[in-house]
Each structure stands twice: as structure tokens, then as C-alpha cells.
Subunit: 230 residues, 6 copies
Amino acid sequence: MRILVVNPNTTASMTEKIGATARAVASSGTEIIAVNPAHGPVSIEGYYDEAISLAGLLQVVEANLDVDAIVVACFDDTGLDAVRSLAGCPVVAIGEAAFHMASMLSNKFSVVTTLARSVPAIEHNLVRYGLATRCARVRSTEVAVLDLEHDAGPARAKIDTEIRRAIAEDRAEAIVLGCAGMTDLTRSLTADHGLPVLDGVGCAVVLCEGLVRLGLKTSRLGGYTPPVKK
Amino acid sequence: MRILVVNPNTTASMTEKIGATARAVASSGTEIIAVNPAHGPVSIEGYYDEAISLAGLLQVVEANLDVDAIVVACFDDTGLDAVRSLAGCPVVAIGEAAFHMASMLSNKFSVVTTLARSVPAIEHNLVRYGLATRCARVRSTEVAVLDLEHDAGPARAKIDTEIRRAIAEDRAEAIVLGCAGMTDLTRSLTADHGLPVLDGVGCAVVLCEGLVRLGLKTSRLGGYTPPVKK
Amino acid sequence: MRILVVNPNTTASMTEKIGATARAVASSGTEIIAVNPAHGPVSIEGYYDEAISLAGLLQVVEANLDVDAIVVACFDDTGLDAVRSLAGCPVVAIGEAAFHMASMLSNKFSVVTTLARSVPAIEHNLVRYGLATRCARVRSTEVAVLDLEHDAGPARAKIDTEIRRAIAEDRAEAIVLGCAGMTDLTRSLTADHGLPVLDGVGCAVVLCEGLVRLGLKTSRLGGYTPPVKK
Amino acid sequence: MRILVVNPNTTASMTEKIGATARAVASSGTEIIAVNPAHGPVSIEGYYDEAISLAGLLQVVEANLDVDAIVVACFDDTGLDAVRSLAGCPVVAIGEAAFHMASMLSNKFSVVTTLARSVPAIEHNLVRYGLATRCARVRSTEVAVLDLEHDAGPARAKIDTEIRRAIAEDRAEAIVLGCAGMTDLTRSLTADHGLPVLDGVGCAVVLCEGLVRLGLKTSRLGGYTPPVKK
Amino acid sequence: MRILVVNPNTTASMTEKIGATARAVASSGTEIIAVNPAHGPVSIEGYYDEAISLAGLLQVVEANLDVDAIVVACFDDTGLDAVRSLAGCPVVAIGEAAFHMASMLSNKFSVVTTLARSVPAIEHNLVRYGLATRCARVRSTEVAVLDLEHDAGPARAKIDTEIRRAIAEDRAEAIVLGCAGMTDLTRSLTADHGLPVLDGVGCAVVLCEGLVRLGLKTSRLGGYTPPVKK
Amino acid sequence: MRILVVNPNTTASMTEKIGATARAVASSGTEIIAVNPAHGPVSIEGYYDEAISLAGLLQVVEANLDVDAIVVACFDDTGLDAVRSLAGCPVVAIGEAAFHMASMLSNKFSVVTTLARSVPAIEHNLVRYGLATRCARVRSTEVAVLDLEHDAGPARAKIDTEIRRAIAEDRAEAIVLGCAGMTDLTRSLTADHGLPVLDGVGCAVVLCEGLVRLGLKTSRLGGYTPPVKK
């Protein structure tokens, strides 16, 4: 089985980190192809970055359609619907993957993400997926995405603080980490805080594997009808 | 006052029609600048078209930021959040404009749009705006966007049928026309069916004028914080 | 164009202030007719005041039906549905006007109103309009309506405090001022707090102008069917 | 125990019928005082009638505050909040009474009311009470309120038709009769259709008796704070 | 009239206390039969206890079907749907009873219950009943159910604290006590905190009496169809 | 990896069929232990059957806690919360599994289940999970669970009819089969109707495998705190 993992930003080091996380989780028979667009924003922080990443994202997907499933590896679930329409195979974005998985481990979860400017986009996704009622609160740490690449120390402390608040104030029973750059912290945060801490990359990989194993594909009726050639 | 009206697709004839509708509605002191991207899809029909239109859409907006307000003239409200983040002035998309206006004229409205593949995107917008509870049903006529340009006869009959169903089955008290290409039918449909029929282009223009007159701008806190230069 | 602005309470000084705000916002061709009932409560603070104001409100509307649109100038949107049924022209209440406009400038807004006793009525309106999901919180300042008339100093400080809390605690991106008596504070609060601050009177006037310009009227099907003479 | 049953319209024959229904249901120790306003509309059909009935309604309540509980006997729950603020004792309206009771007898219920114009007001109440999710559909029979007084034959057939549709199409497990004028049909409709058919008057009377027996009163914090004398 | 009051746990002293509360509230002609299962958990604290109590609960109900109505006297509303399917007479659980009654006395209420582990089950019930929008917050005191039996002093102080917080932070206008073991505190808490404090046992008894008086029974269509003998 | 698949009813032939489905889907390294309770109902059709199955269900789970994950193989998700509290490992029920998976393949899905009496329980689960907004309609075929065992012919025709209706009337883009007894029809229905048809057993197995691979467990904070020994 071949799974395309697309990082919608152009930062190759982040693509590598995401690819490594995906490979660590994937079954032995699964090949992970981690890619990023050739051009576009170096990180996705807010609505504008999302929008300008889409052309490059769709281009790199279109060049790699010979796969069994696709992971969209940005926590905003950037371009998810367009990739589904284009590809037809199962397509899972890392935000939705983590929300669905957290809903099966807890009565309520909180999200801990990077910047405040990303919070509304995440909240809109939750509403649209139906899972807003399962999410107690979307919290931001004010850690920039690329800082997670360069300096994990203070970033980790800020994440710890927000997790503690989520448990005490939100009565969260699980935590979803709201950035693909946080994937390597999952296990240590789970151990330290005593509750499930979910990373979307891992969740999306196992969901894709599962959907492929079940022979299921994206519906071609209604909203995900393949695009008309123009 | 200068209002930029952006048609996110590249069909110039549609841009002209939208521009004409906007000018017919605008106050005497308002200049309408109707533009479309240089490249991108010739029509927006579904998620994929939306996504690939965004680069061109943002480019043409960025080239025209010297305006007082912006109308996004695609019923899917394509790129609305990104344009808001980029521009800072009031930005109103034609879908939301019509939904808000219809909510002040009726207890419940129905939407009559073109293709079934566009329905889920419109429903998602309604949920996100909060106005899903005000919309009885999103109906599709299976009229392609560009057919509205070329041949209004059979298209009109299909629209009539769906409006009659909306009144009888949905108990709709108003109708929102779900495509920028339907703007010239508004008044005759209102007359024929005896209920308010709203076109988003006109609604968006008067909303922009109003917001400018009130001195209001897009919030720069939270989700619409200006994009970071990268 | 003639717009009737009805203050549902009998305090003429407030009617004048509201009328002045409306005129300051209206287009040059628009005539504002600001009226209040001859009898009824001097201010609308809670459900009972709302109910006993309605007879006078409808009487003054009925005496002034020769207008193009009507603004109901009480933040509780007192009698909105009854005025719509009676009049048939576009009718916009100042609460809903501000909620709809704020929804196009921000991802989420908070309301800052006068007394705690008015909060549930405002929350009910938000739920009914569908916009409760867009409102982070309805906050009260415990400033009585008429104190806003007599002494703006301490009232302003309390409003400032609640706006600061709304930004910090509610992550509000815009503020709706929840009382027709606060209309003259809008611009200075916008400047001081760095986010859009909306006053319903101005919003309702430009919405009425827009609806009239578009040739739209209140639906006569369903809930707003004209009342039967009895 | 003394329960005031207020019919908000001025039709004395309907007040008598409502009073008789209330007495038939009340415990032996309960005195029913059935009243109607001296002036106002002869029936409540839509928003306008509701609004103009309120002054008379509050007047007749104010003249009869020496009671233990109050039933507002109009299915639109006309003036409910204002009566609560004024009276302080338990106040139950017949619409809400029937919705709450039906929620304890069925997974989902449908409402069968008189005119289409009354449907939106009932739907708004359901949303506000939280019980919209329990109501499958609000159906209208196009039987005018006063026709129920004068000629039950054809009205009964129309009600039967809508109940059959509610069972087949809405999967309703119970029926709420949406008009105080239908109270005498309850038992025969229950027998004929084989599901619980609820009349709000009876429900409201037993709810009032129950609240009084429990020593509970309307809250005086927040929205139902007693009105300020002005 | 005979009302079966079933305490789903096996603690006889709690059954007695619940029976006494029920009798204190019931009308003179009502006989209260308070029972508990022969085997099962001594208290219901969380999902597991709920599940293992059901066999005993249904057994004791089946042995006592010769009644007019049934009260399920656990605040989690344990087994409510199964008892309805089995019995056919009116069945009211104490959680729902208190939520419905509180909705008619206040704009919003908060729940004060025992352990944090019980909060999600209560929240799920509120969502399902539709009344989640009426409940400001479910608060836990960390008082174990059986401690309420043995030592009311410190338990009372913790309940007081949470009620004060509910008024200040949640703007609750009424309080629902979330445990059958708190039934004897209702009146003194009402007096001390100046707002309605509701106990589910009393509410359920008067609701049952009311439903029986109205001749209403659990619907036998749809979800509550009697179980098939197997 | 060892996954316990619990059929909550006592029909061994159904347990075998479910076990075979699970094994067909599971990875090579996964051992499926398919069990059913020693006593309890032969099928779960409605609330009462659910309730009386729980003691046996929990007993068989308790006897098999030495596993990595647990599948609750009844479409009503019988006892899901109790099993989570008891076991601590990942626990996935087949209803929720299919709803979550369908949400990642379609904008909206419909459920096709057996008896009308099961519909409300499924609808309640959807509301609680947050996914009611993703489900267009829960449809029943009036095929009894055990008939699916004995005679697939007419049952298949009824399922076909409901799927066609779901596509035409509900605009469903995917179908969830609402009974563990339908698991062997999935692929042929997918092929015949041209949209994803999901069976909960397969979905639950791959979700369990994925959660185990990610090292995630049921949260032990809040609602799923382990039961207190009593």
C-alpha cells in the first residue's frame, strides 16, 4: 500500500519530520511518500497562507495520484475537499483524523495549537465536521510553527501549560495537538499529563490504512464528484 | 467610494454581467471596479474549482487594494477569509450577503443554485455562518453556470420549478439565487412567484456601501490578523 | 427614501439621539423620521417593559406607514415580527442589524449591554436568528439605560472594562454595543480598543437603505402574512 | 390552590371552554380562575395579534395576582416571559407545557396547529426552549381558530389527516395539538390514532399544580427580575 | 393512584429517603411504592455502575408493573428508555424531571452533582433531551453519593460553594441538584441562595401524577414499542 | 495484537459471521477473539434488549480483559461507555466506527438499519457523538435481525430500495449499514449502488488496530475513570 503524505507548506525539514512520524506509525507493508509543493508559503498560519498554498498543494497531489490514499498534513486540513474531489481514493486530513480518534477515546477533548490566528479556522472545521460539540476548547500557545522546528524547549513549556489548563478548566479528557510540527512530542506529553495526547499525522496514517484495507474510497456522488475538465 | 467586485473565475462575460448588476444597484457616488483573475477556472463548480481559483483571485485582489471595500462574487464565497486577512477593508461575499439579507425579510429561505455538486459547499458555509437554521433547503437545478450565460430559456423553467417546490415543500418565505450568473432574473422571479428573490451581487454591494459609510473595517484581531510576510 | 426610526420607549431625548445617529449615517437622499410612542415605558429593561411597549409601538408605526423602510430602535428588537407583519416594507431591528454586520467583520463578536436582566432576551434573539454561534458572550455593564443619557463618564469606564474582557476572555474580534443609548460612543471605542465596535442604529439604517435600493420587501408568505382585520 | 388561566384573546366562549378543560383536569383542591382581557384581538393568529394582545393580557394578570400559579392559555405562549417577570409565582404557557410533557412520552413528537402563519412563531419557541430537536415537524391544518368553535366536523377531518401524515412521514411518536381551541378533541384523537395526543391546557394545569406543590417559584435572578416601577 | 419509585442502587437507606421525599410531595390519594433491586451496585457513580444496575432494575420493575406510573430515581436517568419500553405507563426519571421543571422557572439553570465522573453522562442526557441549551454548566462537588447519607456537613458546604459559583460565573437562574441523595437539602438551599433549587425526586412525582391525571401514557409507536418476547 | 470482538447478543451464528468479517479485515498479525455472552437476548432490537444484554456483555468482557482493544459489535453501540470504563484499552463500537469513517468519505451519509424501533436509539447516538449533522437520515427496512441470518433474498431487496431512496431523497453520498448482521453485503451493495457502503464491524476492527498501533488508550480522566470496587 502506498500513502501520499502531503505537507502543504514548502519547508522540507518539516516534510521530513512528518514523513518520519508517518513511517514510524505505518504497517510494514505501507510505503509513505512524503512530499511538499515546490512553491507556496513556508508555513500555514491563518487563512491567507492556506489559500495561497492550494495551487502548489493540488499540483503535487496531481503529480502523485498513483497512490492508495492521501494524507493532508496540515492541521487546518488545507484543501481537503479539493484533494478529495481530485483524487477519489481515501483522503484524510490530520486535523479531522485527530478529532475523530479523540472522540473515540474521551467524552471531550481540547486542542492545543500554535497561533491565535489559527484558532477560528480550526473551530470552523470542527463545526463543519460535527465534532465541535466534542471539543471543549481550542487553545493557542503563541508558539510559531517554525519555532517548533528550531527550539523545542520553551515551546514545550507553553504546551504543558495549556494542557494543564485544558484538564483543569475545560475538563478535557484528551488533548489533540494542533500542528504537524508537534508530532514528536506526543508520547512524552501523554506520559507527563496522564491522558491521551493525539497527533494528527499518526491518526491520519492509520485511518488511511484502514480505509484502504476495507476497500473504501471517497464518494463520487454529490460534493466530491470529479472536477470537470475545463 | 470605490468597491472592487472580484469574479473568481476567468469568464469575462460573466464579470461584465456581475459588474453591470453591481453598478445598477450602487449609489451614485460609488465606483464599481469589476475584475477577474488572469488565470484559473472558467467557472467555479465544486471544491476543486474553488481551490484552484484562489491564487489568481488573491493576485487580482492584491493588485487592486486601493479600494474601500471588496465583493467576492462567487456564490461559494470562494476565498472570503483569505481576502479579509489580506485586505483589511470590509469584504463581503455574495453568498453570505444574500443569506444575511434574506434572514431579515423572511422566517426561512431556500437557496436555488446550479449543480448538485455545489450544494455541500453552500451548506457548509451556511453552517459556519450560523444561518443554516434559517435556510430550509439548498436546491439544485442542474443548470451549468455557463448555460446561464448562453441560454436562459430552459434554465429559467428549471429555476421556476425549484422555487415552486421551495414554497410548497420547504415553506420557504424567500428565495436566494445561488449563482452570480442568475443576477438578471431577480426582479422577474420576484414578480412571478410573489416572494422576495435575492441575488447576492446586489446584496453584497449595498452591504459594502453600508459598512464603508459606517466607517467599519474587517477586524484585525484573531483570525483576520494580516498575513505575515514570508 | 423615507425611513421611519421607531424608539419603542417614550423618552424623547433618546429618540432625538437615535434620530441624530441615524441622520449622520443616512445617505443624502434619505429622510429619517424618528418617532416614539405617546405612552408606554420610559425605557425597555427586560421582558415586561418590552411587552407593555408594544401597543404604543404598533400605534406609532401604524400612523407612519407611508415610509420605505422601518428601523426598530431597541436592542431587544422589541416587536420586530409584529412590525414586519403590519408594514410589509423592509423592517430591520437594531440588535439583528448589528449581529449580522458584526458577522461579516469578525469570526466572533461579543455584545456589551446595559443590565443583566436584558441578557437572556438578547441571547434568545441570537439563538433565533441563528447567530448565537457567532456571539462569544453577551456581557452586561450594570449601567441603566437612562444613565447613559445623563452621565456618560462612569458608564464609559464600565463599557471599557467589559470590552477588554471580551477581547481577552471571549477572544471576541468585534464588539456589538447592546443599547440604543450607546450610539455616540462607537467611534471612540473603536479607536481605543482597536477592533470594530458596532452600533445597531447605524447598521439598521444602512441595511434599510440597501434593502430599499434592491427593491426588496418583507415576505408576505408564512409568518409575515398581513394580519387579518378583526 | 388557585390557578389563574388567562386566555390572551377576548373570545369569552373560548375562555369558557379552556376553563372547563382546566377544571376537568385540576385536582379537587384547585380553583381555576379563567379570564380573558377586556380588549384586544378576538383570536391570536400570528405575530401581530400576539403583540397587540399583550397590554390587555398583562392588565388582566395584574388584576389577578392573588393566585398560586398562572397558565398562559395561548399556544404561541404569548407574553410568557413578561408574565413571569410580573408575577413571580410559577407561570406555565400551554405550548411549552405540551412540548415538555410530550418529550417525556415519546422520542419525537409533531405539532398540529391551525394556520400556516402561526408555524414560525411556534418553531421559534421550540428553538428557544431547546425542544426543537424533539419536534419532528410543526404542521398546519388551515383551520382558523374560531372555526374550531363553530364547526368541529371538517376541522376534525383535517386534523386527522395531519396526524396520519405525522405518523407516516415524520415518524412522530406523539402529537401536540397546537391550539387552545382543540382541547376537547384530545381523548378521541388519542383513541383513534393510537398514540399520545396532548393538549397544552391540561398539561399546563398539572405542571402548575406540581410546581406549587413543590414550593417552587419563578426565579427572580437574571431575566425574570421583577420590573422596575417607572 | 400508585406510583412505583425505583432506586436503581441497592442501598435501602437511600431508597427510604427517596420514598419519604416522594411521599412528602405526593397528593393525598397517591400511594408511593419505593423499591430497589435485590442485587447490583450500592451506588451509581459513572457508566459502569449504570450498566450493571440495569438487570436488577428491570427485574424489580417487572415485578411491580401493576402501577399507574414509574419514577426512575437515579440522576443519571439509568435505564429510562428500557423501563418505558417495558412498562407502557408514564415513566419519568429524576434527572429529566428536574431539567424540564427548571426550564419553566428560569432562563438558564446549572446542575450541581456529586462526582466529576458522573458529569459526562449527565451532559449526554441533556444533549439528548434537547435541554443542553438551557443548562449553563454541570458542576461536581466531589462528594461521594454515600457520603451524603453519612455526613451532610462538609457536603453541604461544598454544595453551597458550587451554587455560589453557578450564580456568579454561569449566570444560572436556578439550580438542579444532581443526586437523589440530596433531596432533603432542597428547601434550605432555596432559602439560603435566593433562587429555585430543584430536586428530581419531587419533580418526577408531580410529573407522574400529572401525566396519569391527563390519561397520558408512553407512546407505543417507534422507539418505545413493547419488547418482543424471545 | 489481540482484539476482542463482543457480540452483545447470544446468537452464536451471528458471532461467527461477525468474527469472520473481522478476521477478513484484520492485519495478518492481529488475532480476533469473537465472543458473545452466555445469557441475554438472542438479538438486540430496541432499548429493552440493549438494557438486559449489558450484564452478560460486561461479564464476557471482564473474562477477556487480556486484549489490546475491544470491538462492541452491536449497531446500537450497546454498553460502549461501560466497556470503556471497565477496560481502559481502546474500545470502539461498530455504529460509531461506521459513522466516523463515513464522515471522512462523504459530505453526508444515510443509515439503513433493520427495525423502526431501533431508529431512535441510533439517532440518539448520532446526536451524542456530534455526527447527527453528518447523517441525512436513519432509514429502517423492517427486516428483523435474525431474518438476515436465515434468508438474505427479500432482505436484500428491501435494503436496495432504502439505499436508492437515500441517494435520491436524502442526497446521501455514502451508506452506513445499521446492523452487524448485514456485514457480508457491503461489497456487493457498493458495487451495485456506486457509492461507499460501510459496515461497522470492519470499520471498528481497523480503528482498533490503528489506535493500538498509535499507543493510544481510553482516557482515565472524567467519565471513563475506572469503576470503584464496591
